[in-house]
């Protein structure tokens, strides 16, 4: 029985068992590889996507439980038309290996949607679940502040 999913504004029919996590539907079935596999147990945040605007760990959401419209990193901007938050990431040269950054950006985007001017403590709180083994945190923090400012000015 195929499942219909709305992802980045498009409908996809998926033929996979109900319990396959959204992460693996996106990566191996739909071909959206921007969302990353890091741990499979919601401990690293690399797989963060939005469902109806809320940041979730896609490794923990079963296909049959997807309750709304899914947005992935590919859905918020492209290299030629980046979202403000992605521009801030480039401006601050955040990424090193870059593997965790899709998840970092999706987590930060949902933070900024809920809180347009987060404090350092609020950034700590919101971003604590997103691991970066390269240690890019100082630049992630700077990029979030910078994006917040730009989005408020816009």
């Amino acid at each position: 029985m195929p499942t219909d999913l709305r992802i980045n504004g498009k409908t996809h029919q998926v033929n996979l068992p109900d319990d396959v996590p959204l992460l693996w539907v996106l990566r191996d079935e739909v071909g959206l590889t921007g969302t990353k596999f890091g741990c499979g147990v919601a401990a690293c945040g690399a797989c963060t996507v939005h469902i109806d605007g809320e940041a979730v760990r896609s490794c923990q959401v079963a296909l049959s439980d997807v309750w709304g419209e899914v947005t992935t990193i590919e859905g918020i901007g492209t290299p030629d038309a980046m979202a403000a938050i992605q521009q801030a990431w480039v401006e601050h040269q955040v990424a090193q290996c870059g593997y965790c950054q899709s998840g970092q950006i999706m987590q930060a985007a949902s933070l900024l949607a809920a809180n347009p001017a987060p404090s350092d403590a609020e950034i700590d709180e919101a971003m604590q679940g997103n691991l970066c083994r390269c240690g890019t945190y100082p630049r992630i923090r700077a990029a979030i502040h910078s994006a917040a400012q730009k989005m408020q000015e816009a």
Binding site: L16, P17, V20, P21, L23, W24, D28, E29, G31, L32, T33, G34, T35, K36, F37, G38, C39, G40, V41, A43, C44, A46, T72, I73, E74, G77, T78, P79, M82, Q86, Q87, W89, V90, Q93, V94, A95, Q96, C97, G98, Y99, C100, Q101, S102, I123, D124, E125, M127, Q128, G129, L131, C132, R133, C134, G135, T136, Y137, P138, R139, I140, R141
Partner: protein, 746 residues
């Protein structure tokens, strides 16, 4: 890609070569400071292609693994500086596996010399290169060596290409080259004539490459300034392609499972239940592991758990205590090395106060963010491999061996790496994927490790112990006698890479201890190799990752015993030995406003480690908040000799420190029945947004040679933090991870 591969081999012999509609430029390899063993020693000419220009575009080849350190951008900038192109005009690619891309600088790192002592270094390097029979397979990214290796020859490659393009333009216009200049990918002639390099490609292809002088630093336009990283837009938009993102038509997804009892055999398995599970297509025997092949990675991982395998025991002591005993027992055996023996440590200088301390650090996993994976397609004669690896030639050769085919029949594609830290210099993941593809002829397959499989099948940073004895007098150190016990890395790594076991002392075991720029008159360091079969590998900064902690913790203990300020204590000892080390300490002192005093509830620690040619000083400040200890601020000063990209170097420095802090605070792998007991981030956590200190970095250029960046930020992190904890609590940290003995904020 096929024609490109041909070029890489051919132009190795002839310098530059025509390609379809374009030209590939080479640069004569000027090996410094030792003679080039390829040419003078063996009568060969070695030309390496790093610049390709076709009618459409300019491509620069950066044949080093991009695993986050920004090597593609800075490598390309070295070429672009002399070629007179901007980085947004060019495409930067990793390119194929090729002998022409070997790394000479890395070999210099294995030599038992202090390093900061230049004349000894050069002498030893010459000797070592003369015996480096395996040089040709060393297209390896590691040892913080890329910029040391590429600094001169990549600029030479760019300069030669530029002058050859000018000659092509001069021939076309019938004027002398000297009347021409170059700018932004164009040759400029009198009368406002501009000819794009791409237009000249075909004509330049027929010319002998022109040699050119390198520009003086004062003329640099790109180098020395921050360049936007070429991989940044892709990494900010999810479009950068990592190994795990490779997608091929008809590709299957597979999960690996190997014996958790490391080094044990696989005596058989029952896959009947797994084969009934959804999406599963087959379970393939890979000798000492199996792979479940499915239409989805997650389904494959689930099914792998359902396979009942008969695993043989590991050739490793059964308990963690026995493993530690085996390391400790090495102290009683003859030393593997005594690479420093200054003065006489046997006698206590008159009036000196003796102190001693023992330290211990655990095994560590690399835990790259991107779990291990590789993708392969075998058509019956030729293997195509996509593998995020740090050694394309070794990868090619080992995959060829595993399949019984010629190395020329293996094409290695090297995508972006979600972290390497040394793990991706290993060959296991590539070889497993190749073996799997052999049994799936004509069907591409991606083999992925679960996080648990990755963490429990690492080549670990070895556990290590130190027995330190020292003496202080009149506020300074007069004696340091250290013994380090750990497993030796070269016998394992060289055996895996080349099938041979090197003889002689193991430099890596004592790196970061024997070669520290401290003018202590009686200074001896002995290494003791432990007899253990735990799989170990190169982990960011290798031996310096533990010796930095041993040395700099003990330096702090000696300073304390001497009644001296720990920063001034180090300053006095470095000033007399090697000025750049003193300069980084002075910079850290100034940046942090170090006074030797801290407010109640605040502690500060300092550490300085010289590794991979680079002295790095770090000051870390901790504070007690609500009964927990938080890392508040860090200051880092490093001397790179030549700062090619200051912003990227800053990232390497604080990133290296973060990697060291993660391990110092939380990192620990223990073994039971030869199996790692930690499998995922909840058991093996790392520093996170809340726990990362605010950080300031200063890059100095005092020393005469360009030095390494990727690793030297790591070793001083643990001791700087441990020394800060002592300052705050009065309790010495003599073992890691610190979470066992201190109430750290997590």
């Amino acid at each position: 890609m096929a024609s490109f591969k041909k070029i890489a081999r051919r132009s190795f012999l002839i310098g530059s070569a025509a390609i379809v509609g374009g030209v590939a430029f080479g640069a004569y390899y000027v090996s410094r400071p030792a003679p080039n063993p390829l040419k003078p020693a063996e009568g060969e000419a070695a030309f390496n292609p790093f610049v390709m220009i076709s009618g459409e575009k300019i491509t620069l080849i950066a044949p080093r693994a991009e695993m986050g350190q920004g090597v593609h951008t800075t490598w390309a900038a070295l070429i672009a500086e002399e070629l007179d192109v901007t980085l947004d005009q060019v495409e930067v690619i990793h390119g194929p596996a090729a002998t022409a891309y070997y790394n000479a600088a890395l070999l210099g790192e294995v030599i038992p010399s202090k390093g900061y002592d230049k004349s000894r270094f050069m002498h030893s390097l010459g000797e070592a290169l003369g015996h480096a029979g395996k040089l040709m397979d060393m297209q390896v990214t590691g040892g913080s060596s890329s910029m040391k290796d590429g600094y001169e020859r990549m600029r030479a490659a760019g300069a030669s290409a530029r002058e050859t393009l000018k000659l092509a333009a001069a021939n076309r216009l019938g004027i002398a080259s000297s009347q021409l200049s170059t700018r932004d990918g164009k040759v400029i002639a009198p009368g406002n004539i501009e000819i794009a390099y791409t237009e000249l490609a075909a004509e330049a292809a027929g010319l002998e490459p022109v040699e050119a002088q390198l520009r003086h630093r004062s003329e640099w336009k790109l180098l020395g300034k921050a360049q936007p990283r070429v991989d940044m837009p892709g990494k900010a938009t999810g479009t950068a392609k990592f190994g795990i993102d490779v997608r091929l038509p008809g590709m299957k997804f597979a999960a690996l499972k190997a014996n958790p009892h490391l080094g044990g055999t696989m005596n058989g398995f029952d896959a009947s239940e797994a084969l009934q599970m959804p999406g599963v297509e087959q379970v393939v025997d890979l000798g000492n592991a199996f792979a479940v092949v499915a239409n989805n990675t997650w389904l494959a991982i689930q099914a792998a758990e359902a396979v009942a395998a008969d695993w043989g025991p590991a050739p490793i002591p059964g308990t963690q205590a026995e493993i530690q005993d085996a390391i400790r027992a090495a102290f009683d055996a003859e030393p593997n090395s005594t690479l420093r023996d200054d003065g006489d440590v046997s006698a206590l200088p008159q009036g000196a106060q003796e102190i001693s301390a023992e330290y211990e650090v655990p095994f560590l996993a690399h835990a790259t963010m991107e779990p291990l994976n590789a993708t392969a397609l075998y058509d019956g004669s030729k293997l195509q491999l996509w593998s995020g690896n740090q050694g394309p030639l070794l990868t090619r050769n080992h995959c060829a061996d595993a399949l019984g085919i010629d190395p020329e029949q293996v094409e290695v594609n090297t995508p972006m790496m979600g972290g390497g830290f040394g793990r991706r210099g290993e060959l296991d993941f590539s070889v497993y994927a190749a073996k799997l593809a052999r049994q799936m002829r004509g069907t591409p397959v991606q083999l992925t490790w679960s996080r648990e499989e990755d963490m429990t099948h690492d080549f670990y940073r070895p556990g290590a112990m130190a027995r330190m004895r020292g003496a202080v007098k009149d506020g300074s150190a007069v004696l340091l006698d250290g013994q380090i016990a750990s497993q030796a890395l070269p016998p394992q790594l060289m055996s895996r890479w080349f099938g041979m076991t090197p003889a002689g002392p193991d430099t890596t075991l004592v790196d970061g201890a024997f070669n520290q720029p401290y003018g202590i008159p009686n200074y001896r360091i002995r290494g003791h190799a432990a007899e253990l079969q735990v799989p170990i590998g190169a982990w960011r900064s290798v031996g310096a990752s533990f010796n930095g902690f041993f040395m700099e913790s003990f330096m702090d203990e000696m300073a304390h015993a001497a009644g001296a300020d720990p920063l001034e204590f180090r300053l006095a000892l470095t000033r007399q030995e090697w000025a750049p080390a003193a300069k980084v300490l002075e910079a850290a002192k100034e940046m942090s406003g170090w006074t030797g005093k801290t407010a109640d509830g605040v502690g500060r620690g300092v550490a300085m480690t010289y590794s991979f040619g680079t002295p790095v000083a770090q000051v870390i400040e901790v504070a007690e908040e609500d009964g927990l200890i938080r890392l508040r601020k860090a200051w880092i000063a490093a001397d790179l000799g030549v700062a090619l990209d200051p912003r990227n170097l800053e990232a390497q420095m604080f990133g290296g420190m973060a990697y060291g802090l993660s391990a110092a605070m939380f990192g620990e792998i223990t073994f039971a029945e030869g199996a790692a007991e930690q499998g995922n981030f909840p058991d093996y956590d790392a520093i996170r947004m809340r726990t990362m200190p605010e950080v300031e970095v200063r890059i100095l250029e005092e020393q005469t040679h360009i030095s390494g960046a990727g690793e030297p930020g790591t070793p001083p992190a643990a001791p700087a933090l441990a020394n800060a904890l002592f300052d705050l609590t009065g309790k010495r940290a003599r073992r890691l991870p610190l979470m066992h003995d201190f109430d750290l904020l997590i």
